[in-house]
Symmetry: C2
Subunit: 254 residues, 2 copies
DNA sequence: CGCAAAATTGAAGATTATCAACATCGGTGG
DNA sequence: CCACCGATGTTGATAATCTTCAATTTTGCG
């Protein structure tokens, strides 16, 4: 029961803070639980030393040992087709659960890779099951968290079915903004943790198309792009574009 | 606790058959449970009178009362954008769980519509939670079933990111075949329960593109199309196309 | 400061959406 | 039993969008 790690005495920022004092509490597994129950949850959660960009949480085919919740930073989950090409299945921001892909048969069908320096909570799955059986609130909250993950999957699909590249990009930014807002970050000035290639891959587009889309949205006055920092200028217009309410996105005359 | 309905004495085919004798047992919530536990599960499951094509299981915004498992037939889940257009989120074949979209906040964000005459099992969600807390096996199996649903979502995404229409179609048929096989149906001669429009919507394509894709795949000797009956002739070739291993799907010279 | 990776921009070619006409299927009623 | 009708599905032509290949610029970091 290796609950405590060498990490305990390091006192790095964000480490060994209890769930009770975690700002992500409401979004995470800890949501809506009594202080007593939180202690029990705390006991099984391992808080890992921050991972560097590119570090892997788990690999495809590996058994489901733990589920993870990002605490700070960002993670992408990817699969690899027969031809070996990477496909990004999801981006995971703070408070979002990672590892559900192994729920079906106990083996991961994704690989999880840190996009930036990332610290996260690790929850041994077997122990989670045990504790959840004892604490009714945790059981319920686990379902809610799973539901949120399913909801993000659905959002991703709703992006991918769009035929217009700019609509996908607008939806992507719009959704990201909402997620940032939910974790108390600035929903207008977005600091993107992922590259254009990763965005393109996630959106099912060529990277050049994404690049062009960004400049196009900027030219139309919807966003302001400075590398990986994107500012949402005309949130309403962006939302209209995102929801396909712009009939003819014509070029300016001339 | 309205467990029994007027339906009890009807003895329609597929009605009031216990989980223990259900052919879908292994895929469904009943998988891997003892005979005793199955009885307990049986007690909370309502088996509904078959629904006609077009009937709705639940609507968007409605509270999560029950989850459903298709027993026979097929169901689609759809959302409606701001502009009112329908978007198909998933197709649900026998043994597949429906209703997880409401797990996050207790309200459905999809609508579920029967594609053909469909009979299914209804499981009141509150009671499921109670029983699951008592039966450790059910808890575990519930996770597995949720995991399978998440896996299908991932498959759907992997279809949608494909840029080539024929690849999407090939992947769609390939995946459908696998699901048919899992429930003991012929994985080669597929009887599609959904229209071309629905397929196009699900694949993020125009319906004409789907129609052309079908005939193209037929011309290439991969499938044989007779309306909604599609026979997979060259399964290997179809898989190769599905996985993007065909470099240049050129037209025949001339 | 310089280099490699990341991002932008340009031009050409290919694929798909769209509009439109036509064929086919299934069910209903004569 | 056949004919009709609407719904469903197929096919054709055109225009628009996206991908691809290529060159260039910018960024980030040692």
């Amino acid at each position: 029961m290796a609950v405590m790690e060498a990490v305990t005495h390091l006192d790095l920022p964000g480490l060994r803070r209890s769930c009770a004092r975690c700002s992500l509490q409401q979004l995470c597994l800890a949501g809506g639980m009594s202080h007593e129950d939180l202690d029990q949850l705390d006991d099984i959660i391992r808080q890992r030393r921050p991972l560097g960009a590119g570090a892997r949480l788990f690999r495809m085919g590996q058994g489901l040992d733990s589920v993870f919740v990002t605490r700070d930073g960002a993670v992408k989950t990817v699969t690899f087709g027969e031809n070996g090409d990477e496909q990004i299945i999801g981006f995971h921001l703070p408070g979002e659960l990672i590892g559900l892909d192994a729920l079906a048969d106990g083996k991961h069908r994704c690989e999880a890779v840190a996009l930036t320096q990332t610290s996260l909570c690790e929850i041994p799955f077997a122990q989670l099951g045990e504790v959840a059986a004892q604490i009714p609130g945790l059981q319920q909250q686990l379902m809610r968290v799973i539901g949120m993950s399913v909801g993000r999957d659905q959002d991703h699909k709703e992006i991918l079915v769009r035929r217009q590249a700019n609509e996908r990009i607008a939806l992507f930014l719009h959704g990201l903004s909402a997620r940032y807002k939910a974790i108390g970050r600035d929903p207008v000035r977005l600091q993107l943790p992922m590259s254009r290639i990763d965005i393109a891959n996630y959106l099912g587009l060529a990277l050049e198309t994404v690049s062009r889309g960004f400049t196009r949205l900027q030219d139309d006055g919807l966003i302001e792009v400075r590398g990986r920092q994107v500012e949402l200028v005309d949130t309403l217009g962006l939302a209209r574009l995102a929801h396909g309410l712009v009939e003819a996105p014509k070029l300016r005359h001339g």
